[in-house]
């Protein structure tokens, strides 16, 4: 038999997968470069406007004269070069097509809304419709999808690419670079997709059969059947999935109630998770719900996802985090160019730098808040000013919605505590309705070790004691302020860290649904001061 080639990497998500290789083309700066040129963005916008006009005209043909007249108006608006020119000014200024379009149209809409005439103000709705239609047509770069069940092999994988793929037929991921603490690794773990990272570059042909034995951090090219059987049998015996238990709280060995909420990354997780096992959603990440910059500006999409989450949770609270882009979570043209660094423009910094984007999501959240127990969580807050600026945006957008007669409610607005300065100065954030620790970022900033950098992964791994000490201090500050607080970082989904986090004073954990059974037993087996149940007395 031919000798099978084995490659060693690092396990980012355990499990075993066998499939044919999908070898991804390298996404390098060069491949991206033409995508960002002014000419390309301008062309993309023109095409999207063309698609919108065609769609509208086709739609108008099917309607009665009165309704068609309204669409006629929209077509006239789109055919008027003035609209595209307003957006093109922004493209020349460095904005991507979607951002430029949304920014120009929002400004124009705001002008109409200031009109003293009610009838004229009502026309703003038509322009909003135009804006959204073109944004939907601007679906961005189509992702190069691959056959279901195959094994993705490449330099790296973007979270949006991961989410656009159908993983229901299984499959696996092998990355030449990558890191076990990247967001895509987190997504793979929550979906149970085997993933091996940091294998280094190796030669492999598209379509070859490959075994991803992630639990052993091994990739086997063209494996023998016996090797596959061995890996599969070990996998079968190693996954005694504990039965789901109902209830959103669990008691420690000494009888202290710990609240358990779910971390939700996308709609599929919502469908796959039983709400009765959780006290609502402690963290809904919105950045993974969007696959393109156009989606980011699609208010209806944001709104629908929030409504789905509220329906899922029933009367339980749902905490939705605003778009946390930047760092390793980027979209073409959004948070991609200047904020590659984890220390750069990301999270709320990016939202405040792109108020058009923040306002779209704020409107969706304000509208959704009218339908359930929804709170808003702001990512990467460093100073109180950022919180205040975002509150102002919410207040302004609420006023606009009320004026338009749209049902809306001001949600409670809280903040992530993931920047060390914010954690240390928590008492200065009196305007935050609640706090949620984000340990992934807190750890990388405390250790000065980037999450995605495999060469310092060793430092990142041993961050827990420092993180727990800082959390302990912050918990005392939050309690003095009588503000609820919880944790939603990956540490909270790691049974081995749970005792220390409880000892630091945390009583509310948001965890990945796939880890809930392990977390329950870890909490049940510990006292609230973090000692093992057996040690007590």
């Amino acid at each position: 038999m031919a000798e099978a080639l084995e490659i060693v990497g690092i396990c980012a998500s355990p499990g075993v997968a066998i499939g044919t290789v999908h070898l991804a083309a390298d996404v390098t700066a060069e491949t991206f470069a033409p995508f960002y040129t002014v000419a390309a963005e301008r062309e993309k916008l023109r095409q999207a406007v063309g698609v919108a006009v065609t769609d509208l005209s086709a739609l108008a043909d099917r309607l009665d004269e009165e309704s068609a007249g309204i669409l006629d108006f929209q077509v006239e608006m789109l055919l008027d070069p003035a609209l595209v020119e307003m957006a093109e000014e922004r493209i020349v200024g460095g904005d991507g097509a979607a951002l430029a379009w949304a920014g120009a149209l929002d400004r124009y809409i705001a002008g109409i809304e200031e009109a003293p005439d009610e009838q004229l103000r009502a026309r703003a709705v038509d322009v909003v419709d135009i804006r959204n239609r073109v944004l939907r047509a601007l679906t961005g770069r189509p992702v190069e999808d691959f056959a279901p069940g195959s094994v993705f092999v490449g330099k790296d994988l973007e979270p949006s690419h991961f989410l656009a793929h159908d993983w229901s037929a299984g499959g696996g991921i092998v990355l030449f670079d990558g890191s076990a603490s990247s967001h895509v690794a987190m997504l793979a773990r929550s979906r149970g997709i085997p993933m091996v990272v940091a294998t280094g570059r190796f030669e492999i042909g598209d379509g070859l059969r490959v075994l991803v034995d992630a639990s052993d951090a091994l990739v086997v090219i063209d494996p023998e059947d016996a090797r596959i059987r061995k890996a599969k049998s070990r996998m079968a015996s190693a996954s005694p999935s504990a039965p789901a238990q109902p209830g959103g709280t669990v008691e420690t060995a000494d009888g202290v109630a710990i609240r358990l909420s779910a971390i939700i990354n996308d709609r599929q997780e919502l469908k796959a998770t039983d709400p009765s096992s959780f006290a609502g959603i402690g963290l809904m990440r919105t950045e993974f719900l969007i696959a393109s910059p156009a989606d980011a500006f699609d208010e209806e999409k944001h709104y629908e996802v929030c409504r789905q989450a509220l329906d899922w949770a029933g009367s339980a609270p749902v905490i939705v985090r605003m778009l946390d882009l930047g760092g390793d979570k980027t979209l073409p043209g959004l948070g991609a160019k200047k904020s590659e660094s984890f220390m750069g423009v990301r999270g709320i910094r990016l939202l405040l730098a792109l108020p058009e984007l923040a306002r779209v999501q704020a409107r969706a959240l304000l509208r959704a808040a009218a339908h359930g127990n929804l709170s808003v969580l702001l990512p990467m807050v460093t100073v109180p000013d950022e919180l205040d600026s975002m509150r102002t945006i919410f207040e302004e957008e609420l006023a606009v919605l009320v004026r338009r007669g749209v049902e809306a409610r001001m949600p409670e607005i809280g903040m992530m505590v993931e920047v060390p300065a914010a954690a240390l100065m928590l008492d200065r954030f009196s305007r935050s309705a609640f706090f949620s620790f984000g340990t992934n970022d807190l750890a990388q900033y405390l250790m000065a070790a980037a999450r995605g950098d495999q060469s310092v992964a060793g430092l990142y791994e041993v961050a827990a004691p420092a993180v727990c000490r800082l959390i302990g201090q912050s918990v005392a500050l939050a309690e003095a302020m009588k503000r609820p607080l919880g944790i939603c970082g990956e540490m909270a989904s790691e049974p081995r860290h749970v005792p220390a986090l409880m000892a630091a004073g945390l009583r509310h954990f948001s965890v990945a649904p796939s880890r809930i059974a392990d977390i329950r037993s870890a909490i049940g087996g510990s006292c609230s001061d973090g000692r093992a149940a057996a040690e007590k007395r």
Binding site: G69, I70, D72, F73, E76, M77, D80, P81, A82, L83, M86, Y108, G111, I112, E114, A115, P116, D117, Q119, L120, R123, D126, V127
Partner: protein, 114 residues
């Protein structure tokens, strides 16, 4: 053009195809959506340039651009100046002015008699 009869005083034109008029918008809904479509379509049917100015703002906007018209927030009672330059300028001004006076033919479009 000079030979054509002109009844209204505010209208003024010259031999080089430059014509201007002033009119108050009386249509109840002002000049938005459908009236704007009608107005800009009519303006575009003339080869001359058509510009509008709202309430003596001294800002002249392209009268063939619906985007500019909507952005100008023209409502009932607005004093609209319309000026045209180029071929058939006087004819364009007369036609556009008549359209505003007829309340943009909105009555007709609602199925009532014109």
């Amino acid at each position: 053009m000079e030979s054509r009869p002109r009844q209204e005083a505010p209208e003024a034109g010259d031999a080089h195809g430059h014509c201007q008029t002033e009119i108050e918008v009386t249509h109840g809904f002002g000049l938005h959506a459908r009236p704007s479509v009608t107005f800009t379509r009519l303006a575009r049917s003339f080869p001359c340039s058509v510009e509008i100015e709202v309430n003596g703002s001294n800002v002249w906007l392209n009268g063939k651009s619906i985007v500019k018209m909507i952005g100008a927030r023209i409502r009932r009672g607005t004093i609209l100046k319309i000026r045209a330059r180029g071929l058939r300028a006087a004819e364009a001004i007369r036609a556009l002015k008549a359209l505003v006076e007829r309340d943009f033919d909105e009555e007709k479009k609602h199925g009532r008699s014109a």
